[in-house]
Symmetry: C2
Amino acid sequence: MRIALDAMGGDHAPRETIRGAQAGLKHLSDGDQLVLFGPEDVVRGQCSEIGLDDPRIEIVHCSEVIDMHDSPVEALRQKRDSTIARLAQQAGKGEVDAIISAGNTGAFVAACQLRLRPIKGVSRPGIAVVLPSFHGPVVVCDVGANVTPKSHHLHEYARMAALYSQYILHVEKPRVGLVSIGEEDAKGNTLVKEARQMIKGDPAVEFVGNMEGRDIFAGNADVYICDGFVGNVVLKLTEGLAEGLFRTIISEIKAENEDLAEAFAPIVDRIWKKHDFAEYGGAPLLGVNTIAIICHGRSDARAISNAIRVAEEYDHANLNQVIAQRLALHQDEKESA
Amino acid sequence: MRIALDAMGGDHAPRETIRGAQAGLKHLSDGDQLVLFGPEDVVRGQCSEIGLDDPRIEIVHCSEVIDMHDSPVEALRQKRDSTIARLAQQAGKGEVDAIISAGNTGAFVAACQLRLRPIKGVSRPGIAVVLPSFHGPVVVCDVGANVTPKSHHLHEYARMAALYSQYILHVEKPRVGLVSIGEEDAKGNTLVKEARQMIKGDPAVEFVGNMEGRDIFAGNADVYICDGFVGNVVLKLTEGLAEGLFRTIISEIKAENEDLAEAFAPIVDRIWKKHDFAEYGGAPLLGVNTIAIICHGRSDARAISNAIRVAEEYDHANLNQVIAQRLALHQDEKESA
């Protein structure tokens, strides 16, 4: 397979993206290519700086970069030779099998929606993120691709995200929950109530009911479905709160006793590593007809390397084909209903 | 003033509510009464068990209790002599000035909406909760009273919650943020975009822009406005994640070194206390024509006592009158527009 990587995407690009590419080579099979998108001189310079010289590496020259703060749609219109625009374009033409970027998420999603067909049976793609809960990784979908979804979009997310959990995180029978504000059928807004009926009635989904905010980290489901607005707030609140809590704990320990702080440091490190988003290699945009992996803006080389691993696993599992089959089943039901 | 307390509300009632009443007496002014609602024999029994015998305590007999798992509307219809139904009824008649319950939140809100007039100028009441951020307490409104608000409801919440922050938390000029998924005007759903224009254009509100999930604990605003669905997820995710993180850290430390765990215990206690919801005495239902305080289901005596303190402060600040004046200003603007 050919995996395309946005060499210029993210806060630590191109240094960490290229180092991530180097580290990610170990995940490639024979005959695979890793294609770096970016200004050729910059990419070559970084490669030679870290001694990255491998026949599986290719470079596709792009003269522009979409900034983190650029308006997605505007930027795509104006920067036609940007790494993100070119990634989606090449994926649309089938010239690459997977695209990975830690750059402007909005632009990446918009480019995918513009240049790529959806998988048959999918109305709107959704971003599935893996959160490291205390009971193992859980999938939350959508976290921002679709802020005003219809209920059947949530139903599609339930099916797709469950397959992602099963095929990539190897959860045998993923339990799917719907994020709401109470357990009962009557709780929630109209969107959630409608989606609940659809998902509940779907024999292809192991639905375990409505889930409240506090369930997400309590191990009560493996997959949490919500609209992109709620999911985005969940994702960012989780990051902010976890970081803030660790900082608070460390500063309280230091205030108490410097020696204790030293003894505590490796434990904090271990907990961080166990619950590190970088471990899960980015968030797939489920439902588009390629393997599209969105990495965190703060991705380091390890996160990029893991995203390459996930792209390989996604490809080996033939996940998009599995999704198409599962969604076709869905389509048949709708048509026979 | 007469403060009415649901003696039967919450996971630890009536023991902790009555103990909370006892502790809360210290917040009462001369001539105030604290009225306990519940089955008279149960309430009297608890009072005598802890030696609570004070002329400021009264009892209002109610024969029924709405359970945590009862459907709010159903329960209110069937249990007309329940503590929650009677609290709202008496507040509606002006027989008490404040009502406090740690019981079924949905039933409490529904009872208030049924039995109490809104403050003039308020279309829908909203629950304002105080979250202990790392930079001091912040207010989030709404957290569940109104799951499908209109944009002008969010505007009203912005005004009311800012006044709550100012008058009760003593933040001099509360910075108000709108929970969204990006800073820009164009980010968010229709509700947020519309509300943003209203709040931004309101000289009575110190609007500091859209806030993402990660801003909530980062000290970037003092008041966060959102719909009741999002707010409820934020509140419960925060509780679940914070508790889970502490549990994880403690178990990791124990696995490493039992002595270290012992040294760490008082630090955890201190952080917990600093960031304890019980400190802030419950969440007011802003916009109804009484002082209505919703306590956490897990409230202990300290939380109940703090709720009594907040009811007193709320009354002294004449907050509902301040809200009415501020909202009347709003009304005038709308009419002259």
